[in-house]
Symmetry: C2
Subunit: 203 residues, 2 copies
DNA sequence: GTCTATAGAAGGATAGAC
DNA sequence: GTCTATCCTTCTATAGAC
């Protein structure tokens, strides 16, 4: 593959990422992607054959990014509390830069659940899970958490981090009504969520 | 308006609600709505003129239902803790019956934020807010909550309740990997989230 | 009010020249 | 590899008969 090929393919991929993130699979138009990439529709099909394949490629990368972004936290040698603080800090910083990612992923996996199953299989999530479980097995006694409600805890942490971004239009509108500001709200979110979670699990 | 008119209009509205909930605005097809209502496409336009107006009607009702479902909690004469427990119980029961509502609303408001602004204006959210604030003003001293981070608390409660439903395909897939079951997880959700929240705000 | 038929436009995809 | 031209299907929306 020549250099120029890669450039065009990348331009298409980037343009497609932008358009799919903004409009979703159903709302996205091949014409708009072509325009944004500075090429014509035929070339999209030359590289990716169909809209569906192009979408698959974009979605797989984005979903992987989302998960990969979290794995460094698992590897750190930190206490559970430190890990929780680090997670909220890093994750919210990431979402501030990519605010449309979560609603995009959540919407598309609800429209087509098969997509996320493939990715979770390829990531070997079970292994990640076992590692985390093992890392903090001893520590759990110190907290008000049992082995079996770890999923409740993990999803709660994810919820506290992600929800402010997926519900931005509602939160923003309500805050506006009471004279508050969404950006201030988001800037305080990491600390609040970390304190909230740690208080919740302490004995 | 005759009885038969109302029947047809209702049939259309119900069919449209089903299809829009399942496919979203962009993915929905007028033909599918007509088929589900047992009539033809022309009649859809006779009653609602355009797809956009039909969607607006459906969306407005659903979004109002979602908010209205919450207001009874505000009126109850309960302590903050009791109210939190009641909220999770009722809200999660509601979402179990209507699991597609939250992802639908969240997706559509992100694609078109103006829609939710209109509804929040019409509901007089500011007034609801002031009432809740007033109701528990004295109680706040007993908790680790200040006047100014009430929005953080409210959105956290909403997050803990809603996220398990919008992320169902991910949660379900991961739970499957570790030999757990999504329905069990959801059945335990209300109690876990209530305990979690109350522990988090206690001094 | 309800139907059939169809207009009119847009979208995904391909053929074929260069 | 890239373009123009175009096919074919699908979709929203309307016209007009009953």
């Amino acid at each position: 593959m020549k250099l120029k090929d890669k450039q065009t393919e990348d331009k298409i991929f980037e343009a497609a990422t932008e358009v799919f993130l903004e409009k979703g699979m159903d709302g996205a138009r091949m014409q708009e992607i072509a325009d944004k990439a500075g090429i014509n529709k035929a070339l999209l099909h030359y590289y990716y054959r169909t809209k569906d394949r192009l979408f698959d490629a974009v979605f797989a990368l984005i979903a992987n990014q989302m998960f990969k972004k979290l794995t460094p936290v698992f590897d750190e040698k930190l206490t559970l509390e430190e890990k929780i603080r680090l997670f909220f800090k890093e994750h919210i910083a990431f979402l501030k830069k990519n605010p449309r990612l979560p609603i995009f992923i959540l919407n598309e996996i609800n429209r087509n659940p098969e997509r996320i199953k493939r990715i979770i299989n390829s990531l070997n999530v079970k292994n990640m899970w076992l590692i985390v479980e093992k890392q903090h097995k001893d520590e759990l006694e110190k907290y008000n958490i049992t082995q079996e409600n770890i999923p409740q805890l993990i999803t709660s942490i994810a919820a506290l981090s992600i929800f402010p971004f997926v519900a931005k239009p509602i939160i923003s509108a309500i805050l506006g009504e009471i004279g508050a500001d969404y950006n201030d709200y988001i800037n305080q979110r990491g600390d609040f969520a970390a304190d909230f979670t740690i208080r919740a699990i302490r004995k």
